[in-house]
């Protein structure tokens, strides 16, 4: 009898325990299960573009950072773009345009007739209506001074296919130029007075002469093959020679020195944009001309 009583008592106690157990866990199961997959961030826009001294109109692609994937960017964008020349304080407000790309998608490209000045630093700001600002700064490389050395040539003046060499020293150019082109200018008939032949020069063949500048050696002998192919037998006469160097802004260098799209596409890699992503660069184009 007593064992039966004990068994019954045990059953009651365990039943009570189970009930408490169920209620406790029923209550604990009501807490939140929501999840926000997006970080709260102070990144608002991605900016892409370059300020180019050669262009009369500058362009800037502005992409709003969104939490919706695959949404076409054809709606009006909540953004005001302005450039500030930090050297002289001139502020330009850029105008928006909605571009339809070849693949049918859309994008907002802002443009401005801003004329880029050598050595100036520009701040490009993109502001949302709530005051959130994304910006990038870029400094246009300063104008170097070209010092054209005396030609060491054996061909007669105005010969269409000169031979020999000549050094050009770009004083103030302390970084490797992005691109070097040599232009041979030929006189033609009056209606079409000049014909220009461009010969690209490898920047690798250049070497800094001193810490004050960059020396490039013009090799007329080497260029003869290109020139002969372009104007050989036409009887044209050489009017002059010009060299153009394109110099990129100092920060236009990929981390690690490798242009690997897989790496550079990672957000934050190779970016000079604050409160956003992307890259806004600038380039200077500088020329020197002479006659042989």
């Amino acid at each position: 009898m007593s064992s039966l009583f004990l068994k019954s008592d045990l059953t009651k106690r365990t039943t009570r325990l189970l009930v408490v157990f169920v209620i406790a866990f029923a209550l604990s199961g009501c807490d939140g299960t929501e999840v926000d997959p997006f970080l709260s961030t102070d990144r608002y826009f991605s900016l892409y573009g370059s300020l180019d001294m050669q262009l009369k109109t500058q362009f800037l692609r502005v992409v709003q950072i969104d939490t919706l994937f695959g949404v076409d960017d054809d709606a009006p964008i909540d953004a005001v773009v302005r450039s500030i020349d930090l050297n002289d304080g001139v502020v330009e407000v850029w105008r928006d345009s909605l571009i339809t790309f070849a693949d049918g998608t859309h994008g907002h490209v802002f443009m401005s007739d801003l004329r880029i000045k050598s050595g100036h630093t520009y701040r490009i700001e993109v502001e949302r209506s709530d005051g959130a600002i994304t910006w990038a700064e870029t400094t246009v490389p300063s104008q170097p001074i070209a010092e054209v050395g005396p030609p060491d040539v054996t061909s007669p003046p105005e010969s269409p296919l000169p031979s020999g060499t000549q050094k050009v020293f770009w004083r103030g150019l302390t970084t490797e130029p992005h691109r070097v082109d040599l232009y041979y200018r030929y006189r033609s008939i009056p209606a079409n007075p000049f014909i220009d032949v461009r010969v690209p020069y490898s920047t690798q063949s250049s070497s800094p002469n001193t810490s004050e500048g960059w020396e490039i050696t013009v090799n007329y002998n080497q260029d003869r093959a290109v020139l002969n192919e372009e104007i050989g037998g036409t009887g044209l006469r050489l009017a002059g020679v010009a060299m153009q160097v394109i110099v990129l802004a100092e920060d236009w260098v990929p981390p690690g020195g490798v242009w690997d799209p897989e790496i550079l596409s990672q957000p934050g890699v190779f970016s000079n944009v604050t409160n956003g992503f992307g890259f806004v660069g600038s380039a200077g184009r500088y020329s020197a001309e002479w006659v042989l």
């Binding site: 068994k7 045990l10 059953t11 365990t14 039943t15 189970l18 157990f21 169920v22 866990f25 029923a26 604990s28 199961g29 009501c30 807490d31 299960t33 929501e34 999840v35 926000d36 997959p37 997006f38 970080l39 961030t41 990144r43 991605s46 892409y48 573009g49 370059s50 362009f59 800037l60 692609r61 992409v63 950072i65 969104d66 939490t67 919706l68 994937f69 695959g70 960017d73 070849a102 693949d103 994008g107 992005h178 990129l248 236009w252 990929p254 981390p255 242009w259 690997d260 790496i263 550079l264 596409s265 990672q266 957000p267 934050g268 890699v269 992503f277 992307g278 890259f279 660069g281 380039a283």
Partner: protein, 784 residues
């Protein structure tokens, strides 16, 4: 009182081993075997050995864990517990007269006397009769008592059908998966997906064997079920780490399932029905007393019936079929043939939740396992050896994408043979074995995994192991082993030392295990796949080291009474040369691979109470898994050569509470699971990316549309919400005559209807939760 502890590991004659061993590894093993055999040979001249099989007299079923004890006139005890075949050996005892006793819970003890002469190899097969009475059981070896929720020894937990049947599952088809997923240290992909992460290891780092056959993906698409219903399981050894030398080819864990043999005395069977599945089993003698068969078939119904019960689509179909023939060919020779086939198909992310234009793909996944194996067990009459020969063939076919035109497929097959020997001596048991397998890997990945092209590979795997079980000191057992394996065609070879030590004194047990583990055949997943269900199997990259792990385990177990048991075990896994998907900002469905290292460490706590009418257990797992990725671009991206993160299966806290109560013939069960949030990668958003290259003149933003990009934050830098689920069930069995019974069950899964997140698609913002509140019922008819 002296105890001579003898026990053959229940898994020792299953699996593995070798033929084409590389020179150094082969010499080490052969030399070691020769030294040990010669050193112990003298014992064999003087001692006597008693051995045999213990079976259930009612159905001929081998009984596992039966304590067989010899008592000498001076009171000295020698004993051993039976293994998965019901086999025992008490080796090299002094020649004398002994009282023999075999006892097991739920059976009448067997008692007899025997006279053993010097050098004699005596055989005594024992048949035990079931009994409801409780008799004293002499436990000769604590390790034999490894069944039960808190019974953990050196990373090993043995699971018996009675353990499985305690876990409430929808329907009346208890399943090993439902048990394993409640173990501390085991993280599942949830109610769907069928993926298990064990103590920091990924699903493809776990080996699962069924009667010696390797099954690649045996867990069904709904997390309650696997290829192992309790009705076919005799025992399952779950090695969460530190497994012995007989196992290889995986770096995390081993689940070694042994199936029942069919009833050799009479026909028996069962059939069940529930909204989740229908099952059927039939077994019986072909030649009464010597040859039997067992057939089990299950097929899901949830695809047809589940929708109406829960009000949402349940697009899952799965099933399995198992068959086994077992024969006692003659005294000391047994043979069996097992075959299994499983199939799974479903939408991990139900497409009705996601607009097709945003989905852009079909998340349908399917896989099929097929395996067949033969096992030959020999007990030579003149040698104290147990020999086992295994032949097996298994294959997995895994597809991702629409059924009619899958985007990717991966096929892997493995066939081969293994021989295992156990040599019994006075203070040492020695196990050794050889195996050779041929593996075919056929991947058609449709441009996925750029580091692994669409390919077909043929690989030969050879392995050998030698393991010594040292039992010279009372209460202490030390196992030292070494495994050598080689993959000649890919130039990978390894030698892997292993150890295990157990010290038992009274109710206390201390255990430790460790070793080196390597894995040449690896499974690759695409992290964008929900639940990482699609797996491509391939050979680890040529010229690079294969993934490897070093395990260390230290545990303590206390059994203060026969009703209470508790254990605590700590583990540490040092993971090297892992292969994980590379991070990319492009929202594409392909992925590169990157190397990584890692560690997994943690602590398991278990408590079990078992005294009618109440059963309960509480298990808690504390875990910390850290990976260190070594993607080549990390120095540029993060400014350092590696990035540390917690992988998406790192669950810090895991708690499981189960209580069941028998009242008036009813069994009420309640189970609550808690898991802290898993890591995931948050994003800042999406944008278009334009490469501003060195040829800046080509960067015309008026022409270049850019490429869609996802702006991820720190990899796996945040945690998903906690997981909690409460399951309730009630069950009652009615006897209908002497041989027929029916069981009714009703229950509810996720009784609180908690929205446990399964998958959140960052790109579509579609959220898929685990199963909602799911009422279920089931009926089962059984005859015997």
């Amino acid at each position: 009182m002296k105890f001579g502890l003898r026990r053959l590991s229940r898994t020792s004659h299953r699996h593995s081993v070798w033929t084409s061993l590389s020179g150094r590894a082969g010499r080490v093993l052969v030399t070691g075997a020769a030294v040990l055999l010669s050193a112990t040979g003298s014992n064999a001249q003087t001692g006597a050995t008693l051995r045999g099989f213990v079976t259930d007299v009612s159905d001929g079923q081998p009984l596992i864990g039966v304590n067989v004890v010899l008592t000498a006139n001076d009171g000295t005890l020698f004993g051993m517990a039976t293994d998965a075949d019901g086999f025992y050996t008490i080796a090299q005892v002094p020649p004398a007269g002994y009282a023999v006793r075999a006892s097991f819970v739920g059976y009448l003890p067997f008692e007899s006397e025997i006279e053993l002469a010097a050098g004699e190899l005596a055989r005594l097969d024992v048949r035990l009769s079931p009994s409801a009475e409780v008799f004293d059981e002499v436990v000769v070896e604590a390790e034999s008592n490894t069944a039960g929720a808190a019974s953990l020894t050196a990373g090993l937990q043995s699971v018996r059908p009675v353990d499985i049947e305690r876990i409430p599952v929808p329907g009346v088809s208890p399943d090993l998966a439902a048990y394993i997923t409640k173990m501390p240290g085991v993280i599942s992909s949830g109610d769907r997906g069928g993926q298990l992460f064990i103590r920091g290891g990924t699903p493809t780092q776990n080996a699962v064997f069924l009667d010696g056959m390797l099954l690649y993906q045996p867990f069904h698409i709904l997390g309650f079920y696997s290829a192992f219903p309790s009705e076919i399981v005799s025992s399952a050894d779950v090695y969460a780490g530190g497994f012995g030398s007989e196992f290889g080819g995986r770096i995390s864990s081993v689940i070694d399932v042994a199936t029942r043999t069919g009833n050799k005395r009479g026909f028996a069977g069962s059939a069940s029905f529930s909204p989740f599945m229908a099952t059927g089993r039939v077994e019986g003698p072909i030649l009464p007393g010597s040859v039997s068969f067992l057939i089990s078939v299950r097929e899901s119904l949830v695809d047809d019936l589940g929708d109406d019960l829960v009000g949402e689509s349940m697009p899952y179909t799965f099933g399995d079929a198992f068959g086994k023939l077992h024969a006692n060919l003659s005294e000391g020779i047994q043979a069996s043939i097992s075959a299994i086939s499983t199939h799974d198909r479903g939408f991990i992310v139900p497409t009705d939740d996601i607009p097709p234009e945003l989905l852009g793909r079909s998340d349908q996944v399917s896989w099929v396992n097929q395996a067949v194996g033969a096992r030959y067990l020999v007990l030579p009459s003149s040698l104290p050896i147990l020999a086992e020969i295994l032949l097996s063939y298994s294959r997995l076919e895994n597809e991702f994408g629409p059924e009619e035109a899958p985007e990717r497929s991966s096929k892997v097959s493995r066939s081969g043979a293994a021989v295992n020997f156990t040599y019994f001596m006075r203070t040492i048991d020695m196990k050794f074995g050889l195996s050779v397998h041929s593996i075919t890997l056929d991947n058609n990945l449709g441009g996925q995994f750029q580091s692994v092209d669409d390919s077909k590979e043929f690989v030969t795997e050879g392995a050998a192991y030698l393991e010594t079980d040292i039992k010279g000191i009372p209460g202490v057992r030390v196992t030292l082993g070494s495994r050598a394996q080689t993959f000649p065609s890919v130039g990978h070879s390894s030698i892997e030392p292993r150890f295990k030590a157990i010290w038992q004194t009274g109710p206390h047990q201390l255990s430790a295990a460790g070793g080196l583990f390597t894995q040449e055949i690896v499974g690759l997943n695409d992290r964008r796949d929900a639940g990482d269900v699609f797996t491509a199997w391939t050979v680890s990259e040529r010229g690079l080291p294969a993934p490897e792990a070093r395990h260390a385990i230290l545990g303590y177990r206390l059994t203060p009474s026969r009703h209470v048991e508790m254990s605590i075990e700590g583990f540490y896994k040092d993971l090297g040369d892992l292969v994980i998907p590379e991070w990319t900002a492009y929202p594409r469905f392909t992925t590169n691979l990157q190397p990584a290292d890692g560690t997994a460490k943690g602590l398991d706590l278990r408590f079990e109470y078992d005294r009618r009418p109440l059963y309960g257990h509480v298990t808690y797992g504390l875990s910390d898994v850290d990976y260190k990725a070594r993607q080549a671009s990390l120095p540029v991206w993060y400014g350092s050569s590696s990035v540390a993160f917690n992988p998406p299966h790192d669950r810090t806290h895991q708690l499981n509470v189960l209580g069941s109560l028998h009242v008036s013939g009813f069994k009420f069960s309640a189970q609550w699971q808690f898991g802290s949030g898993l890591p995931y990668s948050q994003a800042a958003g999406f944008d278009d990316y334009i490469l501003v290259s060195d040829t800046f003149e080509e960067v015309d933003v008026r022409v270049e549309p850019g490429q869609e990009r996802v702006i991820y934050g720190q990899p796996y830098g945040d945690r998903l919400p906690d997981y909690q689920r409460l399951d309730l069930s009630v069950e009652r069995t009615f006897a209908i005559g002497r041989r027929v019974s029916s069981t009714f069950q009703a229950g509810v899964i996720n009784a609180l209807d908690r929205d446990n997140l399964f998958y959140l698609d960052l790109f579509t913002l579609a959220r898929v939760d685990q199963l909602p509140r799911f009422p279920s019922f089931g009926i089962k008819m059984e005859f015997r």
